[in-house]
């Protein structure tokens, strides 16, 4: 194989990072084995990549080999009676829900976009708007197989090779490459979901409502107006939803059809949504976002209840195709912090105020309710998360970097954690501080066992984990 002809420039989801790598298309587990051999022979490192929509550098490997897993996208077994599905790692959430939904099932945990692959979902151990109730996706995996850099094909479950199971899920692709994944779907009795939406006037109410209302819902998520100040700081709107019980949807047969779950590709039935991001661009500045946020908040003041399709409720990020391009040439970054319920309010108030003082407000804030889990590199806490999107420009990079470093300090002092699928600026020191020496030592041992020659390296691995001694 002539690697030269595989040289490709890859990006992160936010178009804010570029890396030139040798991309090799993978179609079967043997291809992974051959790629490992090739890497060893050529003195290169290897990273697996699904659809490449992480916000940071977890699936980039500048100057090294990137395994394009999107071709391993077969759903191998689907049992509509038990709801258990076995898939190749390159199957996306879109492939998955479109297969299982008409049979009355839904993936137990989904991200805000359906474009993610299962391999990537496991590597980052993603969570959804139901994290407080059902945990991360890893908690619904009954078994997976993975190719280790040693060439061994291992099968892991909570019972078998449990140490690898809990480390490879959340392990950011640093221990092996997922080949097949078995997971259990969740039963649904309608293609619709019942949503309650209500406003919250400030940060205190925002978080206390998330906390108090979560037990009554299957899903809960908040929109936070990141530009509101003073007594309105942290105001926003909460969307909480419940799956319908059997019999609650008289048209269940209709609504369960795939065509019903279709996200419309035109706005108001006229404008193609693929063009929408061009029209959003002029609003993505401090004044424009203030205008939009204020209007959105005022519109949310009417408390209302409605039903919408699962796809509409879950995949907000897919609603406007290429929306991330509206952030312009510098792209965007996301800063997501996870804080214990006791310290979140003070820490986030301080962070939001700091961003205002610096003239670097976030343009989108999203809150969720979380619970801890048993995975080794876990990001979860018993508390909340706040994800903030920032626009990157040539003029604000240095100031934004300083701001995020102060955010890191505030979050660490408040006992918080970070999520490597999102944050792109986390330093090795910050990672060491929140992961803890014990976790790092455990992971290091597994890394040595699975990958003695350090064949699996991503830009993320080199940037953070190599420096903390892995």
């Amino acid at each position: 194989m002539n690697l030269t002809h595989h040289f490709t420039q890859l990006e992160n989801f936010g178009h804010s990072l570029k890396a030139s790598c040798y991309r090799i298309k993978i179609e079967k587990p043997d291809d992974i084995y051959e790629a490992f051999q090739l890497a060893k022979k050529s003195g290169l490192t290897v990273t697996a990549r699904g659809t490449g929509i992480s916000y940071n550098d977890v699936s980039l490997n500048g100057g090294g080999i990137v395994l394009d897993m999107s071709g391993m996208n077969r759903i191998l077994e689907w049992d509509p009676a038990s709801g258990v599905v076995r898939c190749e790692a390159g199957v996306t959430l879109e492939d998955l829900w479109k297969r299982v939904e008409p049979d009355g099932w839904w993936p137990p945990v989904v991200s805000g976009t359906m474009k993610t692959t299962l391999g990537g979902c496991l590597g980052a151990n993603i969570h959804g708007k139901n994290n407080f109730r059902v945990g991360t996706i890893g908690e619904h995996v009954t078994e997976f197989t993975a190719m280790l850099p040693t060439g061994a094909l291992v099968t892991c479950s909570p019972q078998k090779n449990a140490d690898l199971f809990y480390a490879m899920i959340s392990g950011l692709g640093m221990l092996g490459v997922f080949t097949t994944i078995t997971l259990k779907m969740k039963r649904i009795h309608s293609g619709l979901i019942a949503v309650d939406a209500w406003p919250v006037p400030n940060l205190h109410r925002h978080l206390s409502d998330l906390l108090e209302h979560a037990p009554h819902y299957d899903y809960i998520v908040g929109w936070l107006d990141t530009l509101a100040k003073g007594t309105s700081l942290g105001r926003g709107q909460i969307h909480a939803a419940n799956n319908l019980k059997e019999g609650e949807d008289p048209n269940a047969r209709e609504t369960m059809k795939l065509s019903y779950q279709h996200l419309p590709d035109r706005l108001f039935g006229v404008m193609p949504k693929s063009l929408l991001h061009y029209f959003m661009n002029p609003f993505l500045n401090n004044a424009g976002v203030w205008l939009i946020n204020t209007a959105k908040y005022l519109a949310s003041l009417r408390r209302h209840t409605f039903r919408e399709s699962h796809a509409e409720f879950h995949f907000l990020l897919d609603y406007v195709p290429d929306w991330e391009r509206s952030f312009g040439r510098g792209g965007l970054i996301q800063y997501q912090s996870f804080l214990p319920k006791e310290t979140a309010e003070d820490a986030w108030r301080e962070m939001i105020q700091l961003s205002h003082r610096r003239g670097l407000p976030s343009y989108l804030g999203v809150t969720k309710r979380h619970r801890p889990d048993n995975f080794l590199l876990t990001h979860a806490v018993d508390g909340f998360s706040l994800a903030m999107d920032f626009k990157v420009t040539d003029g604000n990079r240095a100031r934004l970097r300083d701001l995020l470093q102060e955010f890191d300090r505030i979050v660490l002092n408040a006992g918080g954690r970070f999520y490597f699928a999102k944050n792109s600026e986390t330093s090795a020191e910050t990672a060491r501080a929140f992961l803890g020496e014990e976790t790092i030592a455990k992971f290091k041992k597994l890394k040595q066992r699975c990958d003695p020659n350090n064949l699996l390296e991503s830009d993320l691995y080199r940037r953070i984990f190599k420096d903390i001694g892995l």
Binding site: L3, T4, H5, H6, F7, T8, Q9, N12, G14, S16, L17, K18, A19, S20, C21, S42, G43, L44, T45, N56, D57, G62, G63, G64, G331, I333, V392, R397, A398, L400, R401, L404, S424, E425, D459, R462, R463, D467
Partner: protein, 261 residues
């Protein structure tokens, strides 16, 4: 290898370009390396002289830059593919390359001829460039991204009495770069041909006769970086040479044959 600083990682808020300079240890190559390092570019520097290369890398790294040293003789064509792969891996990617290796070995007078010198110049100035730019062009074409900068010379614009071998080597390089440009522009790759006039470097001593408008290599480096940013096709440095060469290129042969420069 020189002791490189620990971190040269790119993040969205600390983007890093990654560049390779061949012929980096002295003169224009070294000036380009210094300036690019100052802009936060991660650099791989290739040159024949290990000592000079190490000293340059130490200097850049001590000043907070990031430079890796790769001693190599550009005439060792067969070693290029493996070395390039190693460089791209250690650098963490490749965004641009500058081929600045060049020698000028004059025959020593208008009535002297020296095949050995001519061959050496073609080997370094032209074939060395082909050896490096062939795999790089293939990679950039595949990636649909990248920038190639070739340091040619005003000497390639016309064959003159003083140094036929040098003229030929640089004319060959200019034409080679033009051909690469015509192949690669459609793939989103920029190819910049740089034609310096006289520069106050060691090579100036090789010049036959007067050396008007000679500039410091630092100034030429600034011109080149500006042209790279604007993704230009061809520049002269100092810019005045564009007009001088316009005239020289149009001197009719019956007249040019009688001139002695």
């Amino acid at each position: 290898m020189s002791d490189a600083p620990k971190s040269a990682y790119a993040t969205p808020l600390t983007p890093r370009r990654r560049g390779l300079i061949i012929g980096a240890s002295t003169g224009l190559g070294a000036a380009l390396a210094q300036k690019l390092a100052g802009q936060g570019t991660s650099l791989a520097l290739v040159a024949r002289s290990t000592d000079k290369l190490d000293a340059l890398c130490r200097q850049i790294n001590a000043a907070g830059g990031y430079a890796l040293a790769y001693p190599h003789d550009v005439c060792e064509y067969d070693k290029v593919p493996a070395l390039l792969r190693k460089i791209v891996a250690e650098l963490g990617g490749l965004d641009f390359v500058i081929y600045a290796a060049g020698i000028n070995l004059p025959p020593g007078g208008m009535d002297r001829y020296n095949f050995e010198n001519d061959r050496k110049m073609v080997e370094v100035n032209l074939i060395g460039a082909m050896a490096w730019l062939t795999p790089i062009a293939e990679m950039f074409q595949s990636a649909k991204a990248g920038q190639i900068v070739g340091i040619s010379s005003v000497a390639g614009d016309r064959g003159r009495v003083g140094n036929p071998g040098y003229n030929a080597s640089k004319a060959g390089l200019t034409t080679y770069l033009e051909a690469l440009r015509n192949r690669l522009t459609r793939h989103g790759v920029n190819v910049l041909t740089v034609k310096p006039g006289f520069m106050k470097t060691a090579m100036l001593q090789a010049a036959q006769g007067p050396t008007p408008f000679a500039i410091e290599p630092e100034r030429a480096a600034e011109d080149i970086l500006r042209a790279m940013q604007k993704r230009k096709q061809t520049i002269y440095t100092a810019p005045l040479w564009r007009w001088i060469m316009l005239i020289i290129r149009h001197i009719p042969s019956f007249l040019f044959r009688r001139l002695s420069f």
